[in-house]
């Protein structure tokens, strides 16, 4: 491979090479909308008084893993943060940090993946930036996306509204993303196929129950720290707790087997295409029914309940009839999974 086929410092230098890079790699894919004339900032039409705004950076290693890559992840992650906040993503920003020497073909693959995922999510790329750093100063390619979205009518999500008796739902199997990335990074081969990341937009799951939004108290996508982290975040400092039931938590066989093998508690492992919701008991069955009717929610389940005691804690009723605390994960259990 010659130097021309790789990222060079000049690609971020503001000169001719940068202009060519933007033209060939960025505008060719994203030049349809506000990026057509490559403005310094984009002016966007907006309806309604509120925007919902979020940002996230993506440093997953390896960049490609079963079920996705850093490009699709950078779209799904940000779109999903908006979705579980009760908003439909409209526009994303896309910032790339590239390491000198990275094959341009790989940059192309990632950008194509961004484009495909963005189209599938119905969001446009409104603005962006590219920086190149010297060899060894970043590990290949990092992405930052920020997203703005419109609130979906009816969602007023807040932990404050949760009451004992409310149900805890999850839209599918847990832990698939984190373990798929780990298996790819550590080159762990698993007989019969390893875990596959669940990286996907969850906006469909959120919209399909929008007419019940008033009875949905709170939603999260259980990314870093997994189900355990989001549930703990929900209960901390509250006068109630959550009890979940081990047998009801959906788990893909390959993911469960690998977690077992590695001694990792799957409750601590990230998902990238799931919703965890707390809702009023009356609507729980209906939400699970509608989720299950969809391809992205086929394994949705009601996994537990909000309880009066123990307050401020998450407890797991185990398969063998025991009970134990579900604690926050600690330390660098699985670094660089998103």
């Amino acid at each position: 491979m010659s130097a021309e086929d790789r990222v060079q410092l000049a690609h971020g230098g503001g000169g001719r090479m940068m202009a060519e890079f933007i033209e060939r790699h960025i505008r060719a894919r994203f030049g349809e909308g506000p990026l057509r004339d490559l403005p310094d900032a984009s002016r966007l039409a907006w309806t309604g008084p509120e925007v919902v705004f979020t940002t996230d950076s993506y440093v997953v290693q390896p960049r490609r893993f079963p079920g996705g890559d850093i490009g699709s992840l950078a779209v799904h992650g940000t779109v999903n943060d908006l979705a579980v906040s009760g908003a439909r993503a409209r526009w994303l920003s896309l910032s790339l940090i590239l390491e000198e020497g990275l094959p341009l073909a790989e940059v192309d693959e990632v950008l194509s993946s961004v484009a495909v995922a963005a189209r599938a999510c119905g969001v446009g790329i409104a603005t962006g930036d590219t920086k190149v750093v010297g060899r060894g100063q970043c590990d290949g390619l990092f992405i930052n996306t920020a997203g703005i979205g419109e609130p979906i009518a009816g969602y007023a999500l807040s932990c404050e509204t949760i009451r004992p008796g409310d149900r805890v739902l999850v839209s599918g199997t847990i832990g698939d993303h984190g373990l798929a990335v780990l298996a790819a990074r550590e080159r762990i081969s698993v007989a019969g196929g390893g875990p596959v990341s669940d990286s996907a937009p969850v906006i469909g799951l959120v919209e399909t129950v929008a007419d019940l939004a008033g009875a949905v108290r709170w939603m999260r996508d259980p990314t870093r720290g997994g189900l355990a982290a989001v549930l703990n975040e929900c209960v901390t400092g509250r006068p109630w707790g959550i009890e979940i039931v081990e047998q009801r938590i959906p788990l893909a066989p390959a993911t469960g087997a690998l977690a077992e093998l590695l001694g990792v508690d799957v409750l601590h492992v990230a998902c990238e295409g799931r919703v965890v919701a707390v809702c009023a008991a009356e609507v729980a069955e209906e939400i699970v029914r509608r989720w299950r009717a969809r391809a992205d929610g086929r394994q949705a389940a009601d996994i537990g309940v909000v309880v009066e005691r123990p307050a401020g804690a998450v407890v797991l009723a185990t398969r063998v009839g025991g009970r134990r605390l579900v604690d926050l994960p600690r330390g660098e259990l699985l670094p660089r999974i998103c």
Partner: protein
Amino acid sequence: MRYSDGFRQPAAAEALVRMLHERMAVARSRRGAIAVMEVCGTHTMAVGRHGLRRRLPEGLRLISGPGCPVCVTDAGYIQTAIELAESGLGIATFGDLLQVPTAGGDSLAACRARGGRVQVCYSPLDALRAAAAEPGREWVLLAIGFETTIAPVLATLQRAHDAGLGGLSALVAFKRVLPAMEAVLADGRTAIDGFLCPPHVSTVIGAAAYRTIAERHGRPCVVAGFEPLDILAALVALVELVAEGRAEVRNEYARVVKEEGNPRAQRLIEEWLEPCAARWRGLGELPNSGYRLREDRARYDAERRYGVTVRTGRDAPGCRCGDVIAGRMDPPQCPLFRRMCTPDSPVGPCMVSSEGSCAAWFKYERAEAAAPG
């Protein structure tokens, strides 16, 4: 169905719990309460993770034993590892050791942050890879643990040896399980009626190895897997043996553990190591309780190679890990537990290690979780 699901069947668990309660009722009428020591830290974790303690009958108590490698390793070991890193050597270590604090509050993690070359390994082979990737640097593999980890570490050294890779050595603080069990009994401060024996160590040393404990010390030993049903079945057997006064060895994990153990691993140990006295946190120096590299393998021994000696370290002030390890105290009885000492800011190794008793109690068995919901 996952492999492990077969060992977690709710109905089977209910049946075993019922049996355990029945046997314990008989045992209590005959001889009173029973205390069982689970030797291995992974058993402690499994008990917590599956919420088993809540299902035990009255009068049956599980005591955590000296089977967590990080916990029993003397405080001076970490100090020596830090010194080696600071002299410019690469240190390859399992993640568990990273956060273990020295009495002065230093750690390998802090050393790494200061620029020390400390690499976390998932397998000892990663040390080989690290050494191959940075040929200009000599590497020291931190080699602690019981018979289970000894074999893969030696296999790694063997590969370095065969490949003529001269830059890798090991800072060895290997331990043997049996002398520790005997020391806990000799200490006498905790009454122990029987032992729940670790599966992985037993695959190496063999179930027959526990006969010394049974015959010489009159305590039944049952080898059990880490699945909750394995543990329950082993407890049923233990309660029955204790009640009947039968000091026998039972292997409830025969699907993996053989009577004679793993001869290949045993041979590797003999080739590379010789028994020596070792210092244990909580139990002190015990004769023949550890291994060191044999004279003809001295070049792989970081202590001899770099002229350092692991000195006896001081434990952090107030830390009761020694008492916890020897089974003299449950973690919540340590005055620092939860107040000063948490997994985020651990005072002692028992709160750091993924097999440590204090970490297990903190993680799974804090008071609010034990209360009925």
